[in-house]
C-alpha cells in the first residue's frame, strides 16, 4: 500500500502534473508537518484546504472542489476526518 503522501500526489496529479510531490512537500512544510510524520485526519483536512486554495487559482472553483473532495475522501478512509469545511 503506497504511503499517504504518494496517494495524495496521485489524486492531484491531474492538476499539478509531476509537481504534485513538490507541492505537497511545500504545503506540508508550511503546515509544520514533518517528513515521514503520520498525518492525522485534521492534518489531511488542512492539506486538502490548502491544495484547494492553490487549485482554485490554477483551475477555478469547480476543479478545486474536486481536488478537495479527492484528498478529503482519503482523509475519511484514513480515519475519522472532520466534516467537510470544518478545518
Amino acid at each position: 500500500m503506497p504511503d499517504i503522501n504518494s496517494q495524495i500526489s496521485e489524486r492531484v496529479r491531474w492538476v499539478f502534473g509531476d509537481m504534485a510531490e513538490k507541492i505537497l512537500q511545500i504545503e506540508s512544510q508550511r503546515l509544520g508537518l514533518k517528513a515521514g510524520q503520520k498525518l492525522s485526519p485534521e492534518d489531511l483536512e488542512r492539506l486538502a484546504s490548502d491544495l484547494r486554495e492553490l487549485s482554485e487559482k490554477m483551475a477555478g472553483s469547480e476543479l478545486a472542489e474536486r481536488v478537495y473532495d479527492a484528498v478529503h475522501a482519503l482523509a475519511r478512509s484514513e480515519g475519522e476526518a472532520p466534516k467537510k469545511g470544518d478545518a
Binding site: 491531474w14 502534473g17 509531476d18 507541492i23 487559482k57 490554477m58
Partner: protein, 241 residues
C-alpha cells in the same frame, strides 16, 4: 467481401467554411499544430474548437496554459462571445493555468527550470484522463514549454512528447508562435505532428487581414489554399471565393 470500416467521426473546427474542406474536420486522435505570429488568434481559434465541441457535441476539453493567466483567457474569450459559464459548457471545458503553479513554486524558492515540464505535462494529461472524461486538449503554448526546458536537445524531447500524445485516444492542439515570415518547413513540431493549421497576418494599406491555411492534415484530403479568416461573435469563418 467485407465492407470497409466507416471512418471515425471527425472533430469539427466549427470554423464556417473550413470543415467541408477538411473532409468534415480534424481526424480524431490527431496532434495538430496551430501556428502563427503574435496576434493571429491562435489561442482564440484553439479555444473555440474546445468551446464549440463542448456545446455542440458534449465533448470534454482541457486547455492548459503555460504563460497566459486563466482569468485573462476567460475574460478575452467571453469578450468574443465564448463565455465559459454559458449554458451547455458547464464542466466540459476546463482551463488549467500552469503559470500559477510556476509562481507558487518560485515563491517557495524552487527553481522551476529544474523540472522536466514536457514529462510533467504528459503525465498530467494521462492523469486527467484517468480521473475525468477527456476528448480534446489544447496546450498553449509549445514556446512556453520550450522556455522551461534546459535540455540542449529539445528536438528529442519534443519527439517523445508528440509520440506519446499520439498514443492517446484524444485530439490535441499545440499552439506554436512563429515569426511572421517563418517558413513552414522550419516548424519542427509541424513536421512531427499530424496536422498544421497556419494563421498569417497580411497588412494591406491600413488594415491587417488574417488568413488561414491547412498546410498539412494526415488522413484527410484537404484544400491547401489560404483563405481570409474572420472572427465574428462566438465563432470564426473562412471566406471561400
Amino acid at each position: 467481401m467485407s465492407a470497409a470500416a466507416p471512418p471515425a467521426a471527425r472533430i469539427p473546427t466549427y470554423v464556417e467554411g473550413l470543415d467541408p474542406r477538411l473532409g468534415g474536420g480534424v481526424p480524431p486522435g490527431s496532434v495538430v499544430v496551430i501556428e502563427g505570429s503574435a496576434g493571429c488568434m491562435k489561442s482564440t481559434l484553439a479555444y473555440s474548437i474546445l468551446y464549440r465541441n463542448a456545446i455542440e457535441k458534449g465533448s470534454n476539453g482541457l486547455y492548459i496554459t503555460i504563460e497566459q493567466p486563466r482569468k485573462d483567457i476567460e475574460e478575452h474569450m467571453a469578450g468574443v462571445g465564448m463565455d465559459k459559464t454559458a449554458r451547455g459548457v458547464g464542466d466540459k471545458l476546463a482551463i488549467i493555468d500552469l503559470g500559477e503553479l510556476r509562481s507558487f513554486l518560485s515563491e517557495a524558492g524552487e527553481d522551476e527550470l529544474k523540472a522536466d515540464w514536457f514529462k510533467s505535462v504528459l503525465n498530467q494529461i494521462h492523469s486527467y484522463r484517468r480521473n475525468h472524461p477527456l476528448d480534446l486538449v489544447v496546450l498553449d503554448s509549445l514556446n512556453g514549454l520550450f522556455a522551461l526546458t534546459q535540455d540542449p536537445n529539445p528536438r528529442l524531447e519534443l519527439f517523445h512528447f508528440i509520440k506519446d500524445l499520439k498514443t492517446l485516444p484524444i485530439t490535441v492542439f499545440l499552439i506554436s508562435e512563429v515569426s511572421a515570415n517563418a517558413p513552414i518547413s522550419e516548424s519542427l513540431a509541424g513536421f512531427l505532428a499530424d496536422g498544421i493549421i497556419r494563421l498569417e497576418a497580411k497588412r494591406q494599406d491600413d488594415m491587417v487581414n488574417l488568413q488561414l491555411g491547412v498546410v498539412k492534415m494526415r488522413k484527410a484530403a484537404h484544400d491547401h489554399s489560404f483563405f481570409p479568416f474572420m472572427i465574428r461573435k462566438g465563432g470564426f469563418e473562412v471566406v471561400v471565393r
